[in-house]
Symmetry: C2
Subunit: 200 residues, 2 copies
């Protein structure tokens, strides 16, 4: 029985690191690139190498960055802000930036507390956050981690840290998503929405 | 509003060449690799480069190959076979090899006739197939292109070529897939299965 050539097999194996790509999809992608888009494949290889090797972290907020400071920490009008938003990942930071509502600073944890996976306070850069809280004067720290078990545990931990530094802490509101339907929303969310109801 | 850093943006753009990866998935993949699997990303880059640059074609059957001849054409017991199976792609070749039923030679078209996309007989290497048909003695050419419009048109074209060289031509059987249900099979397939019924 014929097998894939060694280089094709290696490409198929390497493609498996992509999320939700199994053996069958990996084979399909490999043959599609070989048959129809070798230039695109080479460009992707080059973009991967340059990003994996060239993208570091902002020394202040830990978001992905190619210089010492990211565009937000380097922005004078924002770096003096007295609001600090703590997020789990750079992707979450961009999602908040995309709303255009927030004009303060960020701190990117790059993960959530997960002792079983070996992710503790040190991995999340909480020493760095503590140093930031004692150096700069903040009026408010906004905890914008996901409303999941790990997200809540991490938010609780960071809130304790902020209280030690006498900074007010807030958490993103929980309730009905805009456009959601009561009938289909899960029970936990509905409970939050109910108990957090506001006078109109 | 903060933007992705240039290298991250370039990676996100480059990832879009993968099938069914849109802007949102590309961003998710880029951040996932940057956050959790930089080594895997670099390995993927390396595998892509080596496959895109190092994988050529078998000089006889046109399947993907890293030497002059593929493992099938280089196999003495198979290269003397008097059966030739014509497939559209290397992936189809592996699918047939996987059944373990066929022990003859192959010819890989690497595409199907599609005049609107500029894919004519020259792109499918039909000159090379004609030369092969006149040089070697074949008893049968099996047309194993997909039973789609392009696949049927290509099969018709190749069948004409074989008739010119006085070689018998066959086509894969069409009918009910194994394990399929009459109720859910499409009308065309059912018609084929009906008109092609066999005595038991």
């Amino acid at each position: 029985m014929a097998r894939h050539t060694p280089k094709v097999q290696r490409l198929i194996d390497a493609l498996r690191i992509l999320p939700s790509v199994g053996p069958k999809s990996a084979q399909r992608i490999a043959y599609q690139l070989l048959e129809r888009n070798r230039d695109g494949g080479l460009q992707l290889a080059d973009a991967l190498t340059s990003a994996m090797q060239g993208v570091g972290s902002c020394q202040q907020c830990r978001t992905f960055c190619e210089q010492e400071l990211c565009s937000i920490c380097g922005d004078v009008s924002r770096s003096q802000s007295r609001q600090l938003c703590v997020v789990a990942s750079s992707a979450d930071l961009y999602a908040i930036e995309h709303t255009g509502l927030y004009n303060g600073r960020y701190f990117v944890l790059r993960g959530l507390l997960s002792p079983l996976d070996g992710i503790g306070p040190a991995q999340l850069g909480l020493d760095q956050l503590a140093a930031m809280l004692s150096q700069a004067q903040f009026d408010e720290v906004i905890l914008a981690t996901n409303p999941t078990v790990e997200g809540e545990a991490t938010a609780y931990f960071v809130a304790e840290l902020c209280r030690k530094h006498q900074v007010a802490v807030s958490r993103l509101a929980q309730g009905m998503p805009v456009g959601g339907e009561l009938e289909y929303v899960d029970g936990n969310t509905l409970s939050y929405a109910f108990s957090g109801r506001k006078q109109v």
